[in-house]
């Protein structure tokens, strides 16, 4: 199991970076090429949701994204610092969560520390891309 972490400030321009990194990591782990768009979209939704929640509450704390290769599955966890009970889902949030649950075969929203984590998992069908040999 290998985990990479990415920390972004809660600003909209950083969401693109997060989804590009997630897409690249998923490809490297061997996630099917046909679902890479879905990984990018779902991760983008989760990060956008976190950014909006932080901005709505004037919280400048960073958002953390963990990308984990479990050999047979690829998991992305997006951590915000806003307790889920402090905000009620509006239409936009409901739409984002609907997209996430449709795009990721497994997804969950849970409390984590002071905030919330959105976890999304995709199966890994093929072998991971071979690492380039050094030297």
């Amino acid at each position: 199991m290998a985990t990479a972490s990415l920390t972004i400030p809660p600003t909209p321009d950083q969401v693109r970076l997060a989804r590009l990194v997630a897409g690249a990591a998923a490809r490297r782990c061997g996630v099917d090429e046909d679902v890479l768009d879905e990984v990018r979209l779902a991760v983008g939704e989760a990060c956008a949701l976190a950014v909006i929640k932080h901005q709505d509450t004037d919280l400048a704390a960073d958002i953390r994204i963990e990308l984990t290769d479990f050999s047979d599955r690829f998991s992305v966890r997006v951590f915000d610092q806003i307790p889920s009970s402090s905000t009620s889902p509006d239409t936009d949030e409901s739409m984002a969560l609907a997209l996430i649950s449709s795009l990721a075969p497994e997804s969950a929203v849970e409390s984590a520390g002071p905030g919330t984590v959105v976890e999304m998992t995709w199966p890994i069908d093929g072998p991971a891309l071979a690492r380039p040999e050094l030297g």
Partner: protein, 125 residues
């Protein structure tokens, strides 16, 4: 002679979205290219809101050249749809790829917003 370009934004700048608005057959057609996400969606919102405030209630949003669309982009389209309907208008969307139309299908918005394969088809209704 082709339709005149009424307005453009972001041309020449290093941003992820470009918006071009033109008039055709009584419709305001907003051609969008690039990525529509939480960062760029406010620009689309501003463009569509400006059109409605200027009295354009028949809108076509052409997403043929859009590579990425998320729920914040959908939210902007829903907001514009509500506003034009208040004036008896309409909003249709043109999509060229399943990548984009899938986002409408998953959220069920394809039942509220007409999806078309070309601007001509959207204008024809």
């Amino acid at each position: 002679m082709g339709p005149a370009v009424l307005s453009t934004s972001n041309e020449g700048k290093n941003v992820e979205i470009t918006l071009v608005t033109r008039e055709t057959d009584g419709y305001s057609v907003v051609e969008v290219s690039g990525e529509v996400d939480v960062y760029t969606a406010p620009q689309l919102d501003e463009q569509l809101s400006g059109l409605v405030e200027a009295g354009s209630y028949q809108l076509v949003v052409d997403l043929s050249a859009v590579e990425f669309l998320d729920s914040t982009g959908l939210g902007v389209l829903v907001k514009a749809l509500k506003r034009v309907r208040e004036h008896g208008g309409s909003l249709a969307v043109v999509t060229a790829t399943d990548r984009i139309s899938k986002v409408f299908r998953i959220t069920g918005l394809d039942t509220a917003i007409g999806l078309h394969s070309s601007v001509d088809e959207a204008v024809a209704g």
